[in-house]
């Protein structure tokens, strides 16, 4: 089972994702903005990150870039309400492995996580 860092400014969304992922047997760590995410990534080196985009302090795209700059092999799945094509392309070009648009079904998250973890 994997160690997963959930990044979202909404405690509600972290709770939903934590529920889905812990039911799959994963260990979960939480961060509430991009800055917090970069620090928690360094401290915990998780196997996978789910990354929101619209957040205070530092947004998810910046956090993704900061994490990838220090850890080229970091596995990050974006999980955002902003589904514009340009946003998706920027995230993937910046090294995200997948892009889940909120609102999502639990199955979509489970599938994306297991696919990225096994790659």
């Amino acid at each position: 089972m994997a160690k997963i860092l959930i990044v979202d400014d909404a405690a509600f969304m972290r709770m939903m994702l934590k529920d889905i992922l812990s039911k799959q047997g994963h260990e979960v760590i939480e961060a509430e903005n991009g800055k917090d995410a970069v620090e928690k990534y360094k401290a915990n080196t998780p196997d996978l990150v789910t990354m929101d985009i619209t957040m205070p302090e530092m947004d998810g795209i910046q956090a993704l870039k900061a994490i990838k700059a220090g850890y080229a092999n970091a596995k990050v799945i974006m999980c955002s309400a902003m589904g514009q094509q340009a946003m998706v392309i920027e995230a993937i070009q910046s090294g995200a492995k997948d892009f889940i648009v909120k609102p999502f079904q639990a199955d979509r998250v489970v599938e994306a996580v297991s696919k990225v973890l096994s790659a």
Partner: protein, 160 residues
Amino acid sequence: MEFDVNVINPFLASAKRTTAMVAQIDLSIGKPYIRELKFDNEFVRIILGVTGAMTGQVIISMPEGKARDIASRMMMGMPVETLDDMAISAISELGNMIMGTAATILSENGVIIDITPPVVELGTVYMNMKSFQNVCVPLLLDNEVYMELNIIVKVKTDTE
């Protein structure tokens, strides 16, 4: 009353789609009207900023009981008797998802906007935004107002 349906419709479509998905409710769209930016304390407001090709704010206002109802539905029926931190977080995220989906719909027509993180506000307030017009659209469930979308945006022209 004058407003551009191309500006208003993506927000309505998004609110309908998002609430159906996260709360399994089918809201119907009421008649738009120009509304003063005055809210009393029976309404919870989720305030979201809009930047980019449109500027301004969208304020989602909900009667307190309806805000508790949707928070409960979003948390798989968990009872919500008071708007505690988790319930407020749920409705904030509802606002974020409505705006994100609207941004996605707008982008399909070449209109690129960004949104700010939501802020939830309670209590009485009067907002002075004289240069902006508020187009308010009620969304109804069983003929009762479930939420209102206050769309207070300006479309940027090429010369700006």
